[in-house]
Amino acid sequence: MSNGYFSLVLHAHLPYVRHKEANRLEERWVFEALTETYIPLLWVLEDQPEALSWTLSFSPPLLELLNDPVIQKRYLEHLDLTIKLVKKEKKHSSNTEEEKIIGFYEERYKRIMETYQEFDCKVTDAFKRYMKLGKVNCITSSATHAFLPYVQTEQGVKAQIFAGVQTFEKYFGEKPKGFWLPECAYSPGVDIALADAGIQFTFVDEETLLRSKPVPSKGIGAPVYSPHGVALFSRNQCISETIWNSSVGYPGDFDYREFYRDVAYERDNEYIKSFIHPEGIRVDTGLKYWRITGKTENKDWYQREWALNKVQSHAYDFCHRITEYLHTNEQSYPPQLITAPFDAELFGHWWFEGPEFLLQTMKVSTEQNITWITPQEFITKHYQDLETVRPCFSTWGRNQTGEVWLNESNAWMYRHLHHCERKLVQLAARLSHDEPNIVVERYADQMVREWMLAASSDWAFIIEGNSAAEYAKSRFQEHIERFHELDRSIENKTYHPNEIAEFENQYPFMLTNDLWHFFKNKHDEYVASHYSERKADKKKILMLSWEFPPMVVGGLARHVFDLSRKLVEQGSEVYVITSSVPGYPEHEVNNGVHVYRVVGKQPNFESFFHWTGSLNMAITEQALALANKIDFDCIHAHDWLVSVSALAIKKELNIPLITTIHATEHGRNNGITSPLQYEINQKEWELMDGSDHLIVCSDYMKNELTGVFSIPEQKVTILPNGIDPDQITFKSSPSIERNHDDHELLLFSVGRLVKEKGFQTIIEAADILRNSGKHIKFVIAGKGPLMDELKEMIRQKSLEDYVHLAGFVSDEERNEYFAKADAALFPSHYEPFGIVALEGMAAGKLTIVSDTGGLREIIDHEKTGLKVYPNDPESIVWAIEYIIRNRERCQDIAKNGEEIARTVFSWDSIAEKTAELYLTKQNQTSKVGGNV
């Protein structure tokens, strides 16, 4: 009585080698396997002892081949031919030894024919019958025996597993409980799909368990659960080796039949020609008269009785080893289990006497009380006794790694397979919400089949091993190409029932419907349904800006935000792509505007210039992904920071690009001096040059573009920046104290603390005013690189009571300052537009600006505001004195300014004009021959 269990598992598989035309050499693989393995295994089942069962896996391609009427007919024809040859051999032979062997084959082929016809050519029906009798437990494998860890997508893995299970169900009438992982290749995540498909157990290599985390306490002595609850039965290498190892295993015994000598190679051409390939290629007939004999080329006659005697002693030896192993490795609880999985074709095809060996082993096992168990029985008994571990990627191939299926000779295959998978997901995403079209769905199903057929692990294996490599390569390429031919027919709408029927007939593999549904994705279905509800007539604008609220560096963010929401209000759809802000969502709908915040792959790039490069890559990626579903009408880019992505997206989507140039590096620095400035200047020029149209905010900027950048005048439109008065209205109660006694006037400035804003001029003016005995208070809000320098200036001049640097202020605080101040002051040296000045005006404050850039155009001196000379403190002093002298007049000026700001510079009118510009540009581009 043994203290453990033995479990035999055979895996039967052939790649799908059914060809429409007859006499393909590869089709003979099926015939040989039927003659030598599958039918003899039925004889084993017929004779095997009661109460003993084992496991047999049929791969779906093999199931399809065995149940294919054309294959069945051709196999009958092949058997007929062989029987005819046996008769001819019998007549021809003059040697008694030879006659004896021929007699053996005569009997054998008669029996093969009988067995085959007994089940009406349906071998799988025979196995199904034995399964019902409890003699064998049949399971299956992945759809085309794909090496699952090298499938890229979850959908692909699912398709392989579920379609495999479906095929099994079709032929066996029930779902399999177990699953053969092709090549015993496991990787984390495979078990999710297996569990989903109702699979309870599968098989892995010894090392899969020994490399697990943690290593199971029983080692390989018991199966384990994978994290998602599939029982993993590990191969016992030590026991398996006695059979499969070519040097120490049983099949190499000298009394066994020699595989490589066949009468096909030993007869005259004239004699044998109608029994080999019609083109004269000598292929195995299956009649092999010799035994292995020894390490010699001179082979002796095969003696059947000798071979059967060896089978007997090998079976005893094998059972002895099992008993020994179980004894040495006794364990509880559960008791020690030896799982011995093999390729089924090893028994019979490679080792001719293999089936007899199996039968004999079963008989001896019964004699010696060795307990055979199937994984299914084992789980029923011991499901509570198994540990859960986390196994890693491993296979039963060389070194238990992936190297056989992934090396210099076959690695090139995977990019094609993965490309197909992604194409299928893409197709499923589109089909799942299109109007149903039966023909297109047939195309999609056929594309799944072509991918599956290409994904068979056999091709990579054969190419690695070099035998039949040409066939494997051409089959792989054929299926990949057929996949794309089908895809192209869908794309070009040239699909036709005749064409698809032709494809289906060429390889009538797994002709079930709805295979493409495996490639659906919940999110894709959601997007497909969600986005198709949108109105088609709305203009869809892709807005690119590196800053967007809450990320506010300069005036750009506010501008893009206000313009976008106004455009939405007026009936466009706007998608803003901008940089990510920690704590803010990657996507939000803000005032109807879709905001996508993206992060570059190197968000901490030290160089700002390269940081923007990295950001641009991410912007483009996001934009092109959005374009998968959204047909954008045009792109609106803002400033050089998005230059790289704007031009790339324009080229890819072939839609007009409108760019707003808010400022230029040349203007900011009064020329280009450093290498970085030069690079930025280049980006600006490239963006201006590559855009279909440009928007600037002022005449001043237009002159800069036409002058410095030689941009043709007609390419530039002036649209002022706008303001939203609501945004600057002070609503809550005051929190900033104001004591009228301590100063005569309060002037408020706000902006980034950079040189071109001219805040240093304020400090100089404050100095002059203080020295002339006037108590004028200046508040400068904002932060920036000049902060320290300005602080130092104030300290040196002891102006702390006169000039206050407020640092960063919230919008609320800013509005409060505007409300409390007597005037707003913006003494910039360079200001393309000057939105802050508009804000000052809209807040109803007298606004003083430099007579420069865009500021000059906003204000009409002494009518809607005051102008001072840039970089001239005396001029500011003049303005202060003007206010003190003309208090009432100044109030009128402020009122006029407010009126202008709220009408001429309203976002309503600006957004309208912007939308008109989009339309004009779109029409222009489409007129030029579609601008292909």
Binding site: K20, I192, V389, E403, N604, S607, K651
Partner: protein, 215 residues
């Protein structure tokens, strides 16, 4: 009755000439003769070209690589991984534009990050190393890696001052752990006892979504 039409039909249905002969109750030789004659006739001669040319698109042939921005890292052995990649036209264009350099002149560099148990964002790997790639390379076997670690691969180029600039980033992939590596595993404990909702390890397959970036 036209014999040859029947033969062609049966042939298209996958029958052998022998089967056809049996079915049509003819000798094999006769079928063969008809069939060969038919095939000879099928070889087009120039004057037989149809007057209306049939517009058949050129057959799609399997390319060397696809024009798409893609990089995929695959498990292989406890100390090696395999990575392949391709660029889209727009990635190439952006690199050319950003660096104002022709694509062919940009150095090609592969960077490997050890990101074991890290939520990687581009700068926080345990270790990194770079490989200068020969021109025209679109795949690489990464050797001599540490077992039981998670890696990510970037394909990129260099800035003028020598910094690595990422163009493509791969999925993470694991090298298998060494044999008998651990007797305890906290991650599987937390998973088993339902302390975590999602496994804390890499599960190989990407739930690829076509509209992934659309919300």
């Amino acid at each position: 009755m036209n014999l040859i039409e029947d033969i062609v039909k049966l042939k298209e249905n996958g029958l052998t000439l022998q089967e056809i002969a049996q079915r049509m109750n003819m000798s094999l030789g006769k079928v063969q003769y008809r069939w060969n004659k038919y095939r000879q006739q099928q070889t087009p001669s120039h004057h037989e070209l149809p007057s209306q040319p049939v517009l058949k698109e050129e057959k799609w042939t399997m390319p060397f690589e696809y024009e798409e921005a893609n990089v995929h890292l695959m498990p292989r052995t406890p100390d090696s991984l395999y990575v392949y990649w391709s660029f889209s036209e727009s990635t190439k264009q952006m690199a050319e534009h950003h660096f104002r350099t022709n694509w062919e002149e940009l150095p090609s560099v592969l960077k490997i990050y050890d990101v074991t148990d890290i939520d990687f964002f581009g700068h926080n790997a345990h270790r990194t190393f770079e490989v200068e790639l020969p021109p025209m390379t679109n795949n690489w076997f990464l050797q001599s890696l540490e077992p039981g670690r998670t890696y990510i691969v970037d394909i990129g180029t260099r800035t003028f001052d020598g910094s690595f600039f990422t163009l493509l980033r791969s999925n993470p992939a694991e090298t298998s752990p060494a044999l008998y590596n651990s007797l305890r595993d906290e991650k599987i404990d937390r998973w088993k006892h339902q302390i975590v909702d999602e496994p804390e390890w890499l599960e190989n397959f990407s739930t690829y979504s076509y509209y992934q970036k659309i919300r």
